[in-house]
């Protein structure tokens, strides 16, 4: 009698958790890709941890606080490592709807990943899309800051060059004026000295 009950229970369990069963999800782990030489072996203890994490995620959903580890069923574990899992309700006859399980896993994805030292790409839940991290958007885009700096430097340099060019031109214009007026002065002084020397008859050695 007991054996019959045992077989019945395992048969029901087997029916609940099957590849492509209703409300079942496939999980795929890539331990060697993620951890290389430090990859641990996937054994029943790891499976227990996995069931615990799923149960933990379900307990955080309102109305599902009574979920136990034994309610999470795993099957078809392959070498890959990949397996299927379902979450049953307390009566163990029905599986919880896929939508609930999906939202629970999505919300706690980070905790589940960290428990296994994996990330979204190496611990895949097929048919449960992961929420991608939003890119960090600084309030002012960085490129505008650098643009502003370079722009100001170029404008300042241009202004300096233009102003120095104007000053140079003014200085050379006034220098020319001085030169011309200086020549006139020296010419008049020369003429005056010539006049005086001619009048006095003294030799003008500086002519």
């Amino acid at each position: 009698m007991l054996w019959l009950l045992f077989f019945l229970v395992t048969a029901i369990h087997a029916e609940l958790c099957q590849p492509d069963a209703e409300n079942a999800f496939k999980v795929r782990l890539s331990l060697r890709t993620a951890l290389g030489d430090k990859a641990y072996a996937w054994d029943t203890n790891e499976e227990y941890l996995f069931k615990a994490m799923v149960a933990f995620s379900m307990r955080r959903v309102p109305n599902r606080e009574a979920t136990e580890i034994s309610h999470v069923l795993l099957c078809n574990v392959t070498q890959r490592v990949s397996f299927w899992f379902v979450v049953t309700d307390p009566s163990r006859n029905h599986t919880l709807p896929a939508v609930e399980v999906q939202s629970a896993i999505r919300m706690n994805r980070n905790r589940i990943n960290n428990a296994f030292f994996l990330n979204d790409q190496t611990l895949e839940f097929l048919r449960i899309p992961s929420t991608l991290a939003p890119p960090t958007d600084p309030s002012v885009p960085i490129w505008i800051i650098i643009f502003g700096v370079v722009f100001c430097i170029v404008i300042v340099a241009t202004m300096l060059l233009i102003l120095s060019g104007i000053r140079q031109r003014r200085r050379s214009a006034s220098l020319e004026f001085l030169q011309i007026s200086g020549t006139r002065e020296s010419l008049t002084s020369l003429g005056a000295s010539c006049l005086t020397s001619c009048l006095h008859g003294a030799p003008t050695s500086n002519l």
């Binding site: 795929r28 991608l132 890119p135 490129w143 643009f147 722009f151 031109r169």
Partner: protein, 592 residues
């Protein structure tokens, strides 16, 4: 009394100015493409022959004319023969078109340079889509580098008809680029002479750094082996020779008037023959040097993509057949594939269509040129390097230096005739003339920052200068040899520099180079006529790739206008002078 003509402070400045002008973006993004298309190592044979036969003689001619006439292109050609004033004007018009669109490349280089200071680089990751479950659709179909170029930088529209609005970000970068060019040409040769030390030397520093980095990259040798393996049968392909001739021609920047402008600021006794040889050899060596760097980067990128492709196949097979993680490696892939095909035939046939055939050859064969090479392929390689921000900054800084160096030459070609003209320079100081030219160019250049701007850029890039330059240089060579007289020019040069003219130059100027240019001209004309309607590549956002479209009639009209406005200057100039002379003769006759 006339103010003495400003001179280069040292002959070295002149050489650097010429190098900085000639060594431009074409050396980096056109020559490697040609090398790849026309037989790798064997392309160097037509290239060097064309350099000796066409490049050096024509370069020497322009430098000699500029140094002898000591004026910009308009004045120089008017002195040679009054009927040739149109040639100078045509040069200025072509330079004007070139400077309009060329500085947009500098604006893009600035844009990428400013965006290189982020971690991660913005073109290495795709942005997320609306509900954050995946990446943006356009970015998924194309690649992240293509997405950043077409969507974030250009914000390109699907066709040339849909112009869209001016994008303020590239517009700001364009204004900055023009301000920088203005700063460099503000004081004429005084400021340009100092700037060319940087624009000529810095790109070589960066290229050296990239050479060392490139050669040490994983997979670089694949690219180098692919490029330098000569494919001798390409020597028989006439296109290889034509492209070699065209590349030499445009790479040296002949016919724009910039070389004449630079040489006009030389001392008359300057030995321009020596400088010709130096500049042309440095220009060609830089092309070859840049293609070594480019091909090591290509090799790295191709190997990276090839290995990613293999890894994707491995992942696909591992997941489909639930094999142990890490069991499938690159080395046992083939045997495992055949084992799986025999052991699970039905399942294997299901998966088979998704298995891509990864081939290193096909990755290497994707030949790209132009802005696609610089802004898509290179950035894709850079994002996979370590410390990618540093490499990105260095690379775009080098592009900027190359571009600014060429812009200095272009603006010199426009400004020298303007400042030479007594009419204009009596009203305005040269700072104001430079400012006005930059302002006008910048304002028109804003067209290229619109959503359809890149399509107009391609029009200008392909058609504004090609035919016109060939015609201009042909007329120049024929004019100096036969109108002015080769003997007269030879005696002028001897009086000026003190060296006799080598027979080689005389033979080239008189016969070989004009014949070459005529054949190039005929080839291009026939090519345009045979292909019939002109087409362009448009970016299709829904497919994430380029599609070919026909130009609308008004775009074809503008292309025709571009070519006509510069080529027609030559006959119109001659006609104008003829009419003016005829009227003058008529006046004097009637007075007498």
């Amino acid at each position: 009394m006339d103010e003495a003509r400003p001179l280069w402070a040292t002959p070295l400045q002149f050489v650097f100015a010429c190098i900085s002008y000639a060594v431009g973006l074409g050396n980096v993004w056109r020559f490697p493409y040609l090398c790849q298309m026309y037989g790798g190592g064997s392309f160097l044979v037509p290239y060097i022959i064309m350099l000796a036969v066409e490049g050096m003689p024509l370069l020497y001619l322009e430098l000699a004319v500029g140094q002898r006439m000591r004026q910009g292109s308009i004045g120089a050609w008017r002195t040679i023969s009054p009927y040739l004033s149109g040639v100078g004007v045509a040069s200025v018009v072509v330079s004007f078109f070139l400077s309009m669109y060329y500085n947009v490349i500098n604006a893009w280089a600035f844009w990428y340079l400013f965006h290189s200071f982020q971690d991660p680089l913005p073109w290495s990751v795709c942005p997320l889509n609306g509900n954050r479950t995946g990446y943006d659709e356009e970015c998924e179909k194309a690649s992240s580098t293509q997405y950043f170029w077409y969507r974030k930088t250009l914000n390109i529209s699907p066709s040339i008809q849909e112009s869209g609005a001016v994008q303020w970000e590239p517009a700001l970068c364009l204004i900055l680029a023009w301000l920088l060019v203005y700063l460099c040409i503000l004081r004429g040769t005084e400021s340009t002479g100092k700037v060319v030390y940087f624009t000529a030397l810095l790109p070589y520093c960066v290229l050296m750094i990239y050479l060392v980095r490139g050669l040490t990259l994983h997979g670089a040798t694949n690219g180098l082996a692919y490029m330098f393996t000569p494919k001798m049968e390409q020597l028989a392909n006439p296109k290889a020779w034509i492209n070699a001739a065209t590349q030499i021609f445009f790479s040296l920047g002949l016919g724009f008037g910039s070389l004449i402008a630079f040489a006009s600021y030389n001392e008359p006794s300057n030995d321009c023959q020596k400088h010709t040889v130096i500049v042309s050899i440095i220009n060609s060596s830089t092309s070859i040097f840049a293609s070594v760097v480019t091909f090591s980067i290509y090799g790295f990128k191709a190997t990276f993509n090839y290995e990613s492709c293999l890894n994707k196949v491995i992942l696909l097979l591992t997941n489909s057949f639930d094999l142990e993680d890490g069991f499938l490696t690159v080395s046992n892939l083939e045997e495992v594939k055949s084992y799986l095909a025999s052991a699970y035939p039905s399942k294997y046939s299901e998966v088979f269509p998704q298995i891509k055939n990864c081939s290193l050859e096909s990755e290497l064969e994707t030949a790209v040129q132009g802005t696609g090479l610089a802004f898509i392929v290179y950035t894709e390689a850079i994002k996979n390097m370590e410390v990618s921000q540093l490499w990105s900054v260095l690379y775009f800084f080098m592009l900027l230096m190359l571009g600014i160096g060429s812009m200095l030459g272009n603006t010199a070609a426009i400004l020298t005739p303007l400042t030479d003209s007594k009419v204009i320079s009596s009203y305005l100081p040269k700072e104001a003339i430079s400012g006005l030219v930059c302002l006008v160019n910048c304002a028109i250049g804003l067209v290229f920052t619109m959503e359809a701007g890149n399509y107009w850029f391609d029009i200008f890039n392909d058609y504004a200068a090609t035919l016109s330059l060939l015609l201009i240089v042909l007329v120049e060579t024929v004019a100096v040899c036969y109108l002015y007289g080769l003997r007269r020019f030879e005696s002028d040069l001897k009086a000026m520099t003190g060296h006799a003219l080598n027979w080689y130059w005389k033979a080239m100027w008189g016969g070989v180079s004009p014949l070459l240019i005529i054949s190039l001209f005929v080839f291009y004309l026939s090519d345009y006529i045979i292909t019939g309607t002109l087409q362009y590549q448009a970016w299709d956002a829904s497919q994430g790739q380029l599609v070919t479209k026909d130009y609308p009639p008004y775009a074809l009209a503008i292309i025709g206008l571009l070519v006509a406005s510069s080529t027609m200057c030559i006959p119109l100039g001659a006609l104008g002078t003829f009419i003016v002379r005829h009227l003058k003769r008529g006046d004097t006759a009637s007075v007498a």
